[in-house]
Each structure stands twice: as structure tokens, then as C-alpha cells.
């Protein structure tokens, strides 16, 4: 078992770190503290730089034109990409591109031509529509949006909430109940064009998060062709569940990146700031905060890389991903909180990024399955599915 980074990983990590600190961080000084986008000309310039580095579209499989990087390396990159003010929800403001809706790599040929290919070319955007007012962590029971067959079409009625990007999307993946009596076996994933009559983005859901705001959707007699079913009829649960498990690894990585930067800032500040005639760093209370930061960051980092390594080699990684998500979100929340405390009054101002991280990090303990659901997943793995 080798825990050291390979030469290639060292090289890529240092390249991304330099890019973030030399290109992204200086730009942020001129942006609103809650900004989630770069000016168009900066975006285009930095995207071209990333393409020249050979790192554009990190999560796109090589056969579709993405760089050939394994998941642990992509996780290390994700940790680096988050190390700036907007990094938690808008890592590098999107200039590294992304796979968009990775579920479409499993779509049939016709769907790939209509949705996946334009998405990869940057011509179409998609959204992922799972969570409903009745819940999001338990799709087998929470989905109440209904799809009823009508000839070669389906008529969809219902609503979704906390959906990011739907107001700017050309299409989305919408999960709906197609068989009321089957629980998890009665959910189907539909690809829905957002110009379909009956598709409504009703409002922005204002939260603690400024970047990547969420929306509430309503579907009123929305007609979707049978040809737009992604995967199999009543096979939507597996698509949702796989996505939820995989997403936990980059989700954890983003938290670790922010925690690393917050901790670095506190380590730099503590020897400079004096109280009662001595630097903060000489106080045991502060030293122990920094020690606890270090432990939180390291434990989250190794758990997350371990989950990525298992996923990469095709082993079951659900428990490890749940542990990584749990430890990273809770640990990083503590790190940001401690750093804010070390910075005192400055820590809560918008002059520093801590207040934004503090707000956004709070969401991380709820999004993509709250801490309690992660513990439930881990407990079920230990005690068996009969736990339910």
C-alpha cells in the first residue's frame, strides 16, 4: 500500500495550485465577495489556459475527449481547485469545465446525439432534478412527481425544489414516479427539454449560499416522449443512487480545499497578531485550534482519497464515500469556525472569505445527504440492510 503521491500527481497538483493562486485569487480581489462568475473575457482567457494545460473537462471520460486522469488524481485536483473564496460552490469559476450530467454517458445513441454531445460542446446546459418538497435523501419514498403514460408520451405533473441551474438549462434529468406501488422500483428518469409547455421555474430559493443558487420547479401536464426515458422504465432509482454516491467524493474534496486555505491563513496570521504583549501563536488555546484543524484536514483527506481509490478500482465504495462526506463536511466546518475565531472581528467581515465559507459550509452538512443519512448508510453497511 503506497500513500505517497506519484510524480504525475505531484506535478498536476502543483500546476493547479499555481494556477489557482496566480490566476484566480488575484481576480477575486475585484469581484463582489459573493460573486459566482468571472467577467466573460477573464473566463474565456482562463479556460484557454486550462485547455493548454490539458486539464479541461476533468470528469469527461477520455473516449469523449476528457484528459486521462484517474479518480484519486481528479480528487487531488478538486481539493486544489476549491482553494479560493468562491471555491466551495464555484471552484475556479468553472474554467476547468466539467462532465455536466455524467449520467448521460450511459444514454442511448439518439439521446447522446441530442443531449450529451451538445452539452460537451458547451452548446447545451442541463440540470439534475431529484429533490422534491417531500425530501431528497430518500428518493425511493420522497418522489411524488408523477408520470402517466399517454400513447407514445408521458404526462408529468409535480414539483422539484433546491434544483441548481434549471433557470439557465436547455434540458434536465427529471425523476418521476411511474409506478405508485413499487417504491424504489417505480421511479423513472426522464430527459426533459426546458422549453416544453408546462415546464416552469417558479422562483429562486434564497439560501445561505450565493453561488449556484437553487430554484423551485413546477410541472403542469408536461408532455415528454417515451424516447426521452434515460435508462430503463422504472430504473431511475439506480441512476439517482449512483449519482448520490459518486458525488460525495468531489463534495468532500471541495470542503477539504477550503479548510486547507482557511487553515493556512490562520497559521500565517497567528504569529503576526499580538494580544497582551505576545503573538496569538504563543497561546495554547490558539495552538490547539491549529492542531485540531490539522487533524480534521488530514483525516478528511485520507478518507476521501481512500473512497476515490476504491471507486477507481471498481470496488464498492458507498460506505467509504459516506464516511468521507461526513468527516470532510463536519471537519471543514469546524476548521472554518476556528479560523474565524482566530481572526476575531476581521473573521466575520466581508473583507475576508471566512464568512462566505462559514455560510456555505453549513449547507455542506445537509446537501448531498445530511450527516445523519451518511451515518445511516454506514450503520447499514455495518449491521446489514436488515437495519431498516
Amino acid at each position: 500500500m503506497n500513500l505517497a503521491l506519484t510524480d504525475e500527481q505531484e506535478l498536476v497538483v502543483s500546476m493547479v495550485r499555481r494556477f489557482v493562486r496566480e490566476e484566480i485569487v488575484p481576480l477575486e480581489a475585484g469581484l463582489d465577495p459573493d460573486a459566482d462568475e468571472l467577467p466573460a473575457e477573464d473566463f474565456a482567457r482562463l479556460k484557454a489556459k486550462v485547455q493548454a494545460m490539458g486539464l479541461y473537462g476533468l470528469d469527461i471520460p477520455p473516449e469523449y475527449g476528457g484528459p486521462e486522469l484517474d479518480l484519486p488524481t481528479r480528487t487531488l485536483i478538486a481539493i486544489e481547485m476549491a482553494q479560493h473564496r468562491a471555491g466551495l460552490y464555484a471552484p475556479c469559476y468553472g474554467v476547468f469545465g466539467g462532465a455536466g450530467l455524467a449520467q448521460l454517458f450511459e444514454a442511448n445513441e439518439d439521446q447522446q446525439r441530442r443531449y450529451l454531445e451538445p452539452m460537451l460542446r458547451g452548446e447545451k446546459r442541463g440540470f439534475f432534478g431529484l429533490t422534491e418538497p417531500s425530501g431528497g435523501s430518500d428518493p425511493a419514498r420522497a418522489i411524488r412527481t408523477r408520470a402517466v403514460r399517454d400513447g407514445d408520451d408521458w404526462i408529468i405533473n409535480g414539483s422539484k425544489i433546491f434544483i441548481s441551474g434549471a433557470d439557465r438549462a436547455h434540458f434536465g434529468l427529471v425523476f418521476a414516479r411511474t409506478d405508485a406501488g413499487k417504491g424504489r422500483g417505480g421511479v423513472t428518469c426522464f430527459i426533459v427539454d426546458t422549453d416544453t409547455p408546462g415546464f416552469h421555474v417558479r422562483r429562486i430559493v434564497h439560501t445561505l449560499r450565493a453561488a449556484r443558487y437553487a430554484t423551485e420547479l413546477q410541472f403542469e401536464n408536461m408532455r415528454v416522449p417515451d424516447a426521452n426515458i434515460l435508462g430503463k422504465l422504472n430504473g431511475g432509482f439506480a441512476i439517482a443512487n449512483d449519482r448520490l454516491s459518486r458525488q460525495r467524493i468531489p463534495y468532500a474534496a471541495g470542503c477539504i480545499g477550503v479548510a486547507i486555505l482557511a487553515h493556512e491563513m490562520a497559521v500565517e496570521y497567528a504569529p503576526q497578531r499580538e494580544t497582551f504583549g505576545a503573538p496569538l501563536s504563543s497561546r495554547q488555546a490558539i495552538q490547539w485550534m491549529l492542531v485540531d484543524n490539522e487533524i480534521d484536514i488530514e483525516s478528511a483527506r485520507w478518507l476521501t482519497l481512500a473512497a476515490a481509490e476504491r471507486a477507481e478500482r471498481g470496488a464498492d465504495f458507498r460506505k467509504q464515500a459516506a464516511m468521507a462526506k461526513l468527516v470532510a463536511t463536519e471537519g471543514a466546518s469546524r476548521v472554518v469556525d476556528r479560523c474565524m475565531q482566530i481572526f476575531g472581528g476581521y473573521g466575520v467581515t466581508k473583507d475576508f472569505p471566512f464568512e462566505r465559507w462559514y455560510r456555505e459550509m453549513r449547507i455542506r452538512r445537509i446537501g448531498e445527504g445530511p450527516s445523519e443519512v451518511q451515518r445511516h448508510i454506514i450503520a447499514r453497511d455495518i449491521l446489514g440492510a436488515s437495519l431498516r
Partner: protein, 115 residues
């Protein structure tokens, strides 16, 4: 929460402007006919928050006669929402807002409420 602002309009005069709060938030400017001609925000980079930003915009936008505002820390998303709602209602942005090709699409119900 109402999507379209329901706050009272106030005249743009020295007394009203002097009484503005220094917090962050969003605001609308209207012309003499009551038509909204600009939707703005006072973000964390502004000096004196809404007080400075409303006064500066009122002075630079011709025809602005009245304003209304909301103090909110969610000024970023609330500003986008007001712009989207205006475009949903009028098919365009207010006269003095620049084009925003990346602005999202909203279709609020007639009541302007969430559902």
C-alpha cells in the same frame, strides 16, 4: 416570499436619500409614470451600502423619480430574481439595465408567489 417587490415607493429627494440605511440589499428606480427603469443592488463593495448606491444611481439615471428597496444579505440572488421576474412580465429588462445574456429564465405565477 413575494417574488415581485411589494415595498412602498419613496420619492427621490434629499430627505429620503439621507434616511437610507447603510446595509446591503436591492432597489428599484421608477420614472414619473411609476414604470421601473432600473433594478440595482448594493453589494459588499459599495461604500455606505444602499445609501450610497441608491443616491449614486438616482443621480446618474435620467428620469428617476422614486425608489423602493429591500435590505437583504442575499442581494446577489435577490437581484437576479427581480431582473428575471421583470423580464418574465415585460419581455425585456428595465430600460437602464444593461443586456444580460446569462440571466436565467423565470416563470412566476401571476400572484408572484412561489406556488
Amino acid at each position: 416570499m413575494a417574488i415581485r417587490s411589494t415595498r412602498p415607493w419613496r420619492p427621490i429627494d434629499p430627505e429620503s436619500l439621507a434616511a437610507l440605511p447603510g446595509q446591503l440589499g436591492v432597489f428599484e428606480l421608477a420614472d414619473a409614470s411609476g414604470q421601473v427603469i432600473y433594478i440595482g443592488r448594493a453589494d459588499a463593495r459599495t461604500l455606505f451600502g444602499l445609501r450610497g448606491e441608491v443616491a449614486a444611481r438616482a443621480a446618474s439615471i435620467p428620469g428617476a423619480c422614486s425608489f423602493r428597496l429591500e435590505v437583504t444579505t442575499a442581494y446577489h440572488t435577490r437581484h437576479l430574481e427581480l431582473l428575471m421576474a421583470f423580464r418574465a412580465d415585460h419581455g425585456r429588462l428595465p430600460t437602464h439595465n444593461p443586456p444580460s445574456p446569462e440571466l436565467g429564465r423565470l416563470s412566476p405565477g401571476p400572484s408572484g408567489l412561489a406556488s
